[in-house]
């Protein structure tokens, strides 16, 4: 159990592991996540379940190497075991009611948007996909998304592939195209991207679901470190989310809370050892 059975390098800093854990594979639904720890002194970090295969008993994670733990994780190879791997955590996403959807994945957020698009596609809904990233190199899953989307759009900051600009440029076009009405938007990506998406959908009053990546420790409602403000209510992202009504999320607070340990984290990554010291 918890053995890495497949490793793919999707872009220089983004890796995909298929991990054997039949219990989690049996239960996982789109929108849920795992928490893992890779060695005795390691921290617990949450990662979205990017895919699952109930027959083979495997779950897929896709992660971007941004700091100590994800860099260490990236060094593991096929056959290595992940020390602790717990899930599925959180509640599955319940997409807004309707028939026509836009699914937006930004950066490593493409990983979690894929199971959402796949689930909608399976239910026979119309899905338009938008993938975005800095440049061609950091994009992945174009093919997989292509299979579960009725149309797929791409935006890169530098224009190296697809539209030169932001995912929100494309979203706006899709919304203002009068031929189809969009019933719901699901967006996962960096907080500024999700915020920009919600600024647009709010204007057009389109129900929007986002997935929040708050700081977590236990993932079971025990620490309250993952709290987020939704409307006027405080929720715990690990047990009440991580998907929430994007039109109600206090994004500025989330961005600030994610910086809680920035200084401590930089002490580690700043030394260039990748956490070996």
């Amino acid at each position: 159990m918890n053995t890495i059975v497949l490793k793919e390098v999707l872009s220089p800093s983004i890796k995909k592991y298929v991990i054997d854990n039949p219990d989690i594979a049996a239960k996982a639904e789109a929108g849920q996540f795992v928490i893992l720890r890779i060695h005795e002194k390691g921290e617990r970090i949450p990662l979205t379940i990017a895919d699952f295969n109930r027959e083979n008993g495997t779950v897929t994670i896709i992660f971007q190497e941004v700091g100590n733990t994800t860099k260490r994780l990236g060094k593991l190879e096929v056959g290595d075991k992940i020390l602790d791997f717990v899930g599925p955590l959180g509640v599955p996403t319940t997409p807004p009611e309707g028939k026509n959807y836009v699914c937006i994945g930004g950066g490593v957020g493409i990983a979690p948007i894929y199971p959402e698009a796949k689930a909608l596609h399976k239910q026979g809904k119309q899905v338009k996909g938008i993938l975005g990233g800095r440049s061609k190199e950091v994009l992945f899953y174009e093919e997989e998304m292509g299979k579960v989307c009725d149309e797929l759009h791409i935006a890169t900051d530098d224009g190296s592939v697809g539209h030169k600009g932001f995912v929100t440029d494309i979203l706006k076009e899709l919304i203002t195209d009068d031929s189809v009405q969009i019933d719901g938007v699901i967006a996962v990506g960096p907080l500024p991207m999700m915020k920009a998406v919600c600024d647009i959908t709010k204007e057009f009053n389109i129900p929007t679901t986002v997935s929040l990546n708050s700081l977590m420790v236990d993932g079971t409602g025990m620490c309250g470190g993952c709290r987020v403000t939704i409307g006027n209510e405080v929720k715990f992202a690990c047990i009440d989310g991580p998907s929430f009504d994007g039109l109600k999320v206090d994004f500025d607070e989330q961005m600030r809370r994610l910086r809680m340990y920035r200084e401590e984290e930089q002490k580690v990554t700043g030394c260039q050892c990748g956490g070996e010291c």
Binding site: D23, I24, K27, R37, K41, G42, E43, R44, N68, T69, L83, D84, F85, V86, G87, P88, L89, V217, D218, T220, G221, M222, C223, G224, G225, R227, T229, V234, I239, E253, R256, R257, R259, M260, Y261, E263, E264, E265, K267, V268, G275, C277
Partner: protein, 450 residues
């Protein structure tokens, strides 16, 4: 009992209370009057035969003393350390009417520690399997009793380490983790199987456990949902629940960051809101982690503080300031969104409330600012909601606790029992153990009658 010197202990995480040696224990045991009608026993939630075990100590038969203790309490090394004795056994001790009561808890601790490496026999187990959810004191006590009765026991634990609050909540300086580990290893030696990293209700549901061939299920999932005050500023950076602060420090060993990789920001000036054991633990931990000034903020007076007396005393010795009759109004932050103050109002005691304690009332116009950069909320916690939410068949109280038959501990689902904090709300280690043990007896009856 000797303690580590306050000036020294605030620089380490070693145990504060050093425990009796053989001579001191025997001497203390001889203070017991061996009452025919021992009142102390009525104060112990698991009914330990206190005069008997103390008699064995007095005659230096420590083996015999341990056997007596273990008849009723499978975790004496833990209870001897963390029980609120002054409200339980020692409160009723007859010697305490005129002098210091007999140090029952300290003697219990001595006996358990004296036998640290005693070997346990593997229990002889039958065919029937029982699932225990949660590995806190309730789950451990239930498992121990079931093993003694010959059941195969699997404990499912959400965290990567078993022990519940004993492991992630109560700090090393009060309850060394190797003692908790030892007690858990003994269970494993007896034959318990522990599956960590399984969240019942998410990974596997309670009903699925029954379908997988467990004859009965015990739920001891605890009260792990931290409350907040719902005052402005609670989501500022630098505000923690005590659970988060203590888990990062104890379980994840953040004080060894970056060797241990979980970070924690302690700050220079820390306010801890609340005055129970959890608050004292958070305050004393912050002090050891280098905070220059740590203050307790509590809306009632010293008399009403729910923490164990010893912890309050130790906290004072360690230089923790007590802001009593003081209630937080709001948390203030700087432009970057970091805490820079806790606005408080002074309180006075009015008429007694439902709990019999005098109700604190704010004194108009007495607001003032405590300059702090960290605020830790330790104002209580509710039952963890994962199992209630995922098990529709369970009857749940308005406050979110699992409802059980008070005699048997059975829930609204046949074959599913519950006990400990998830039933009573945050209580004590020994009460949780008592409930776990009682449920094991009911489970035994239930399986035999089926």
């Amino acid at each position: 009992m000797p303690n580590q010197d306050p000036d020294k202990r605030i620089t380490n995480f070693d145990e504060v209370a050093l425990g009796y040696d053989k001579e001191a224990a025997t001497l203390e045991a001889k203070r017991c009057l061996q009452c025919k009608n021992p009142l102390c026993v009525q104060g112990c939630p698991v009914g330990i035969d206190i005069p008997e075990f103390i008699k064995e100590i007095a005659s230096e038969d420590f083996e015999g003393a341990l056997a007596k203790l273990k008849e009723k309490n499978s975790l004496p090394a833990i209870c001897g350390r963390v029980c609120p004795q002054e409200d339980q056994c020692e409160k009723l001790c007859i010697v305490g009417k005129k002098n210091e009561p007999v140090g029952i808890g300290r003697l219990e601790r001595f006996v358990a520690d004296y036998h640290k490496n005693s070997v346990v026999k593997k229990a002889s187990l039958g065919e029937k399997k029982v699932a225990v959810v949660g590995s806190g004191p309730a789950g451990l006590a239930c498992a121990s009793e079931l093993l003694k009765r010959g059941y195969q026991v699997t404990i499912f634990e959400a965290f990567h380490k078993p022990g519940g609050v004993l492991m992630y909540g109560i700090p090393e300086f009060r309850l060394p983790k190797n003692i908790v580990e030892q007690e858990i290893n003994q269970l494993v030696e007896m034959g318990a199987e522990i599956k960590t990293n399984v969240v019942i209700g998410q990974t596997i549901t309670v009903i699925e456990l029954l379908e997988r061939g467990y004859e009965a299920v015990f739920i001891g999932s605890g009260a792990g949902l931290p409350y907040f005050l719902n005052i402005p500023g609670e989501n500022l950076n630098g505000v923690y629940s005590a659970n988060e602060f203590l888990t990062r420090a104890n379980l994840m060993k953040a004080y060894l960051y970056p060797k241990w990789e979980t970070p924690l920001r302690v700050g220079d000036n820390v306010a801890v809101v609340g005055a129970g054991n959890v608050a004292m633990d958070a305050a004393r931990t912050a002090k050891r982690l280098g905070a220059k000034k740590v203050s307790i903020v509590y809306r009632r007076s010293e008399k009403e503080m729910p923490a164990r007396q010893e912890e309050v005393l130790h906290a004072r010795e360690e230089g923790i300031e007590m802001n009593l009759l003081t209630n937080p109004v709001s948390i203030e932050g700087n432009d970057g969104g970091w805490v820079n103050g806790l606005k408080c109002i002074k309180m006075e005691l009015g008429e007694p409330d439902d709990s019999g304690r005098r109700r604190p009332k704010p004194i108009k116009g007495s607001e003032y600012m405590l300059e702090v950069d960290t605020v830790i909320m330790a104002i209580g916690q509710g039952p963890n909601p994962i199992i209630p939410r995922s098990t529709k068949e369970l009857t749940i109280s308005k406050r979110g606790n699992i409802e059980v038959d008070s005699k048997t501990g059975q829930t609204s689902i046949e074959g599913v029992f519950a006990g400990g904090d998830v039933v009573t709300g945050a209580a004590t280690v020994i009460q949780a153990m008592g409930a776990g043990k009682k449920c094991a007896e009911s489970i035994d009856k239930y399986i035999k009658n089926n």
